[in-house]
Each structure stands twice: as C-alpha cells, then as structure tokens.
Symmetry: C2
Subunit: 343 residues, 2 copies
Amino acid sequence: MATLREVAELAGVSVATASRVLNGSAHPVSSDVRDSVQTAAKTLGYTPSAAAQALKQQRSKIIGVIASDILDPYFAELARGIEIEAAKSGYVTILANANRDPEQERTKFRVLREHQASGIVFCGSDIEGAPGTAELARDVNMAVRAGTRVVALAPRGFDSTKIIIDNVEASYELTRYMLSLGHRRVTFIGGVPGLTAVEQRADGYRRAMFEAQLVPHVVGRTGMRQESGRNAIAGIVAEGSLPEAIVCANDEIAVGVLAYLWTSGYRTPEDVSVAGIGGTRGGAVFGLTTMTLPLVELGGLAARYIASASAQPSVPEPPRFELSIGSTTAKATSGQARSQQFG
Amino acid sequence: MATLREVAELAGVSVATASRVLNGSAHPVSSDVRDSVQTAAKTLGYTPSAAAQALKQQRSKIIGVIASDILDPYFAELARGIEIEAAKSGYVTILANANRDPEQERTKFRVLREHQASGIVFCGSDIEGAPGTAELARDVNMAVRAGTRVVALAPRGFDSTKIIIDNVEASYELTRYMLSLGHRRVTFIGGVPGLTAVEQRADGYRRAMFEAQLVPHVVGRTGMRQESGRNAIAGIVAEGSLPEAIVCANDEIAVGVLAYLWTSGYRTPEDVSVAGIGGTRGGAVFGLTTMTLPLVELGGLAARYIASASAQPSVPEPPRFELSIGSTTAKATSGQARSQQFG
DNA sequence: GTTTCAGTGGTAAACGTTTGCCACTATATC
DNA sequence: GATATAGTGGCAAACGTTTACCACTGAAAC
C-alpha cells in the first residue's frame, strides 16, 4: 500500500503538502502543486491509513452500534439507517450485538472505545435490575465526559444524548384505536420482563384500558421474537378463550401471532384483531396494523448527530409514531362479543 | 485515556515491559513484574489504543462484512455468526451494506482496507454483467495478493477464498421432494435476475423438472424480499391458475407467498405447497418447508478462517443444505390435479 | 524604502504502540 | 575458572499521519 511519503516523493513535495492536499486542510496549496499531488496519488493508488490518522487525531471515523438483536428487523433497519448516513460522511459502522446483556454491552463498549470510535449508538433499551447495569452506566458516563458522543435510541439509565421515541403514547394510541373499533377484551402480548421500552408500552396500554374502565390483561412476556408471539397466543388459545383484540409489544411478536392464528384456522380480523408496534417492513407484507416509525431515518439522525462537525450539535427531535391501519384489525362484531369469554 | 507509558511509569518499568505483559508476547517477564504492571493497568483503567496497534502491526483486529442486504434475515444471521466468532478472538466486525451494487461494494471494500481490516467477508453473490464488477474483481484480487484475507460466502467472480454452499443441489433436492409428493405443476418463484445464487437455484429446479419430464416455470423475478413473493403469487393468481407447488428462491420470498395466500383465503398445503431455500429463523415460525443451512455457523467459519493465527489456514468445508419439512407442503390430492389448469 | 501580510511550502515533533537488539544476571556446562 | 545459555529487562527505532511553527516570496500599505 502506497504511503503519503511515496506520493510526496513522486510529486516532488513534502509530506506535509501532500497531506494538506489529500486530506482537506485549511492551509492553502497552489493549484499546480495540488494537481501534481493528486495525480501522484492516483498513479500510486494511494490509500490513507485510517490507523495512522486515528492515532494522530485521537479519534477515528468509526460509529459503533450496540444493538439488542440484529436479527430483529427493528434493529436491522435502525442499523441500516445509521450505516447509510454514516457512509455519507465517510464514517464506517461497527456493529456489535449484545443480546440485551449489560455485561456484553460493556465489553463491546470498551472495544469500541479502543478503536477510538467517534460515537457509539445504543439501539435497544435496558432491563431493569439486570446485573452489570450500574457498571455499564459508569463506563458510559465516563466516556461521555471524556468527549465521546454516545446516543441512546431507547430509554437508558446513563447520561448519553437521547433520541427517544414515545413508547407510552404509541401503545396508548394504538389501544385507543382498538377500543374505538368497539373491542372491549383487548390483551397485550409479549415482551421481555423489565425491558424499559416494553414496560412503557404496557403502561400506555394500561392507561388506555383504565380510562375506558376495562381490565388490562398483559400476557406472554417471553421475549421479543416471532416465536414469543406464537407461543403466547398458543397459550391463550389453549386456555380456551380468544380476546377480541391483541396489542403486541412489537411487530415481530404480532407476526408470530398471525402465523399461529392463520395456521390454526383462525382468521384476522374476523376472529380477532391484531396490531403491532414498530413499523418494520416485515409487518407491511402481512397487512399488519401497527404504530410505525421511520426507522431508517431515526438511525440516520443518530449518525448525523455523531458525524456533525459542530462541537455541540443540537439534539434532533425524535420522530413520532404514526398509526398505520392494515387489514388485521376491524370493527368488533356483535357475534364476537357474545361467543367468547374473557379469561 | 491512560497510555502504556503511564502504566509503565506507575509500575516502575519500561514501556517495552509493560507492552509485553499487557499484550501477550513470547518474551518472558517475571511474575512479580507482571503483577505490578497488571495492577497498574487496572488502577489507571488502561485501554490499549487499537489505532496505535494497527499502525505498528500493519493490521487491525477488524473483520469487514460486505452484505447484500442486512434486512434479509439470511444475511443478518450470517453477520451475527461472523460477529460472535470474531468477538471470541477479540476481533470487531465492521458491517457494510452494498445493495448488490458492485460500485458500492468497491467503495466499502476500499474503506475497509483503509482501516487495515485483517479480512473481508462478502455475503451475497454477484450479478452477472453488473457495471463495476470487473473493477471490483481487480481491487479484490490485488488485495488478496497483498495478503488481505478475503472470503466469499456465495459465488463470486474474483480470487478470494471461497466457502460456498451448493445452491444447485439445494433446489434440485427440494424440487425432487415436491415431485415425490406427487406434484407435477411446480413453479419456481422470485429472485433477482442475473444473481448467480438465484440462477443456480433456478438451474437445480430446472434439472429436477427436466429429469421428471416436466416443463419448468420460473416467474416473478422481481427481488429477494417478502414483497417480491407476495407480488409474484398475486400475479399468478390474477392469471387464474395456481400451481400445485411452489419452490421459492429464498425464505423471504416464501414467507411473502404465504402472507398473500393466507390473507387471500387460500390454504397451505391444501391448495398449494410452498417451500423456501435458506433456513432463516423467520421461516420456522410459519412452519415453512425449506432447505436449511446453519447460517450462524457458516458465518462463524468465515470469521474463524480470518482470525486464524496460521499463515495458511485451511479452507473449511461449507455446510450442506438439509431439507426441513414443515407444514406448508403435503402430498398432492387428486382434486388438486384435476381442478386447476397449469398456465 | 520600510513594514505588513497573505500565500505558499517545508521541518520536525508528536500520537501509542511493538519489537529487534543489546545488556545484565544467575545458573549450567565443560 | 572460563564459557555458554536461559531468563529478564531496557533502549530506541519504527509504523503513517497531522499540524504547530518557521521561512520565504511578492505585493500592498504606509
């Protein structure tokens, strides 16, 4: 690999000048010298050493992403948004999966710092009382004070910049929509116990239910994946009663619920209305009613914040959830209300 | 951030010794000195500078991943496998999405090289005749000769190490399974035209059909996503005829097909058998019959090859597809054969 | 005819590691 | 007692950049 020195020699200038030409600097360089350096670089196929630059400048053009579960389209879309926007400013994205485990998050965070990442984005919220949470918070707070840009895209118990969507409102709105369709027996399904984002969504659901003077039912908190939804609804069906409507903790769970219902001979929305929260692309194919979020944009916001040249970039407003009505929800039928019994 | 020099001073030794203790070296160090260095490092919260290490050693512990589409679970699982295995050896994974565009792949490849990645993994095959393919091949071949480890997990027209699964056989086997169920009108759906992996799968399907003296039908080559499957089957239904069985170019397409069928009142496998290729987790929830591949392991293989300490690591055998029979395929019924007409 | 200054280019000192080489000690070998 | 050798530790030179500082030129300002 050609180095700056070789380019400088070929162009007949000093490395300083070559550096100034090749890696944008305020220092002026005459246009003929500039040209000769550029042709020399092209001839030699010069590639700057990111390592040397990082070492010298004490920061590298790296954005770290610590995701809860990259297999969940919600995070995959977020990661993609970050990557697209990062690439525009010449940043690369280091992806780390942490499985919602604070210990793993901490390890990944440390590694990211070793690589002098300019910024680190946490995708996914924390779990109340998970061991290692306090230590992670300590590390993050220290890094933030040291000038590393840390962004959380979900509720987190540390002092990072926060671009956080309103989970409570999302499920509140969605539940109210279900109620507005005439459903009364509305169940909330899924989620990881203690996961802040899920608790918030459950809270929004409960608030809407209480306001309508209905009893909330929260079940199947066995995870955030499609299987969880499948298992949860299987459990409900096994108990012999189907609610009129189901609000799922996320889209994946909702898709799992649909998969079970459809393969078991139930129909949506005739037998039961189902909705998700998240707005991933997967839901769209199933015509899922869901609270959507522009995920790619949200990721982009975080990347742009980190890549921003300004010393104190303004924190962007988080996007808002929007209700996207699909074909998995419909008005309650009188038959529905009578034929089934609420657990 | 504490540097090695600070640690060395606190421990009362030279930086050389500190380096030898903290970053594994063959040079022996007495255990008491070793201890004092380690405690000093702990006290100061020493974090090695990956940039400095990369600069000095001319390679950094980075594995680059160039994926076709990170939103496709197939690649997401692969990426996850790479990440898990990479992390075990202290490597970090840089993820780049290239949308199957050789120009983008080239850009990402260059950036990865700037960061002195030890290795780069291409996930996803190339598209015949796509502009920029030759230039990408030139760059890759140059990098390979320069000692960068490049691994392709799908058919590719450059001289990288290859860990490539047998796409032809996968669809051949799957098609034969469909035929063994008694189906005669078997259609192949989906895929990106010219995408090598898809062409291979289509070829395997055709071979099986020819052998059974049946006319192959390949349709709906509009992409690899769920939407593509949905649209393709919608088109087929609009033409008024449903095949007895459908082999999809990948699992995502198959799920899209199922989504359409189920939401349109068709039943699987009663009305039509559907199968995919890939073995992503998503398919499992729908009970999809599919040719599965241990994707996480496959990714791990690539990572392990790159992280290998040996100068000439042996190239691992690719895993083989295995038929996983779900609930979306069944024996042909006599009614099926008579009631419908093949386009 | 000075002085000032914008424009341009070079010199050299970092940045934080790793590692080849040398030096010293203590023990083993002849 | 001389010599080899294993064990241990330090010195200093890189690795490829960036950038503060200095130097020179020519034109503008006085």
